[in-house]
Symmetry: C2
Subunit: 355 residues, 2 copies
DNA sequence: TGTTAGCACTCAACTTGTTAGAGTGCTAAC
DNA sequence: GTTAGCACTCTAACAAGTTGAGTGCTAACA
């Protein structure tokens, strides 16, 4: 072990215990204060009884290894992304106990998925003082459950498409010719017998053509219905996004200057990037907690932030994502803990609602 | 006329033509530059050939009357809210011609109401460099058009409620007992014959009770359907809000400090205040353009802004609101003009879509 | 060999003083 | 009624000096 020093610096393993403790102290202190931390502070407020001079030597080493930097000479050190990475991966202890009264209450109140998720976002933002993004669940491997055409006016049909997971989509179809009830019934039968239970991916052009043929003179309507189905699929892929606490970024000077704030706010307003981010996070398939630090962040405007995401799983392949966005010096321990608790709260709240 | 000077200063009428022109020049100049404007500037850049000293005397008067103020002694003057009010009411000429290519294009592309309004917000934000809020149309005096129950699973019904204006609402109803198709048909018939064409306000508890009685053992289901109807009404009252360009506030230093920006962003994120604002604006019933300056603004967080709203009318009592939020020194002429054009573009685009 | 005290040095941040310029109000002359 | 001139005010920008936190280095110590 000790003879491996001639190898290239393999960072992690090069850190002896003392260096680790010093680095950890620097990080912890910086997370709290947001100010560069100097050798004297470390020397005073840690149990390892070392003079500031010794600490200085060690810090000099740590800087060389790329864990800390000075904003300018004669300032204290601040952690680099690399240090945060190490901290998140192997140094922090989660504060799992962070259960807050609110949650239970808020989740039970409504059976509605959207208000539920909106509340999740709001509670998280209030509890953490960071910005939060919650996505609606994405449903995978969806099967068509039910299709129905109804006449709402002489020249208008209503097409209702229900997909597994009870995602419902309506489309109003304008028709030129009036349809009698029998034809409508036939069409409904035709559509349901052929399409029910079908996975969305299985519906292709050939099938549509065949249906159209069978519908005879009403082929056009089938075409329109298939458009409605296509819409249902698309709507399903576009995740709903609920955000809260975007204003929290103003609490962190490193994010609050006009340029950065403006970009972040735009991202939050347009939601589309957030939707992609959520989709990515869900696709990762790891059900655990994911931490993106600085440049690792999935969205450009967040390159000065850290993003912590969790994937929740409501069963039936319904998975969604919860993300917390804050400054790189966010309280990772608290955030990860809170997110874990919230994830499980959400999942159990949904199970309960179900029965 | 000239002998009325002994009356209390009745502001507007006290302003002789020269004062008006000077005030107008001050306002115009300040709108452009955002800097306090001094007497020399006015003396130079107006056609009334007066020395700066004369202008100074006049400006001193105008200050006394409350139209302009100095941020500090030995600075130029800036207009007060009172001045803006006068300007908006009687001095400005709208730049009605401000028609921008984009509009026509964007509006036609989609038949979808929501994307259409989203686009309106986006185009306005891009064109004006202010923040925009567009509400979905509020439908008044709504009548029920169509109700349908369908079986999607052995223990689940789907209730579809269509309201005039083609607002569609779905509810999944969990039932304990299985229903055969005939019963379903009877229920559908019962609901439709009694409720179709009924205004939402007319549906009261007595009617619901009577329906329940007629439904016999399936009274519970009727109850649930009525809940779905209630939902449809509520969903209809809650206006959808589309925003764009919230980040534009950072372009105006007077709005961009942390405190104000944070409040504005929160308002834009939570949308609920904006929804109320839209509702208010629609209720005003005046179909024209409304300008709120500073404290007049309908929302607290906008007290340092000006808000210009327009009400669009799609016929059938469907009215919505478009609002532009910017600094008090916004380009009122352009905004009012653009808003008028957009209002009519939107209305005609909708008519076209209809046929 | 690792640790420590001491010292010179650096640099941001704050304080103070100075200056330049824009703008005003007032007065006296036109 | 209008204007030129002048003294005055106040901000913004800059320069210079001061303070304090923090460092790196060296020499002494265990």
């Amino acid at each position: 072990m000790s003879t491996e020093e001639n190898l290239e610096p393999k960072s992690d393993e090069m850190l002896d215990d003392r260096k680790k403790r010093i680095l950890c102290a620097v990080i912890r202190n910086y997370l709290e204060t947001g100010e560069p931390v100097g050798s004297r502070t470390i020397s005073k407020y840690t149990d390892l009884n070392l003079s500031s001079a010794t600490i200085r030597n060690e810090m000099s080493d740590l800087e060389e290894m790329g864990y800390i930097v000075q904003p300018h000479t004669s300032a204290g050190r601040i952690p680099t992304d690399k240090a945060y990475r190490l901290y998140v991966d192997s140094m922090m202890e989660e504060k799992d106990k962070e259960i807050n009264e609110l949650k239970g209450l808020l989740l039970e109140t409504e059976g509605k998925m959207d208000t539920m998720l909106k509340n999740v976002a709001k509670v998280l933002a209030n509890n953490t003082n960071y910005a939060t993004v919650v996505s609606s669940p994405m449903v995978r491997g969806n099967k068509l459950k039910f299709i129905q055409l109804s006449k709402v006016a002489s020249n208008q049909l209503l097409a209702v498409v229900v997909v597994e997971g009870n995602v419902i989509k309506n489309n109003i179809i304008n028709i030129s010719e009036d349809l009698d009830d029998e034809t409508l019934l036939t069409l409904n039968l035709l559509l349901n017998t052929h399409l029910n239970g079908m996975a969305l991916e299985e519906i292709n052009l050939g099938m549509i053509a065949s249906l159209k043929a069978q519908a005879g003179i009403h082929g056009d309507i089938v075409g329109e219905v298939m458009d409605a189905v296509a819409d249902a699929i698309k709507a399903d892929e576009e995740l709903e996004i609920y955000t809260s606490g975007a204003n929290n970024i103003f609490k962190y000077p490193e994010l609050a200057d006009h340029e950065k704030a403006s970009q972040l706010i735009t991202t939050f307003e347009e939601k589309q990037m957030l939707s992609q981010m959520a989709a990515m996070s869900i696709d990762k398939e790891e059900t655990g907690i994911q931490v993106y630090i600085g440049d690792e962040a999935p969205v450009g405007s967040m390159k000065d932030c850290s993003v912590v995401t969790a994937t929740y799983d409501l069963g039936d392949g319904m998975k969604g994502s919860i993300a917390i966005i804050g400054p790189k010096r966010m309280d990772y321990e608290k955030v990860v803990g809170t997110l874990k608790t919230m994830k499980s709260e959400l999942e159990t709240a949904y199970q309960k609602k179900d029965k």
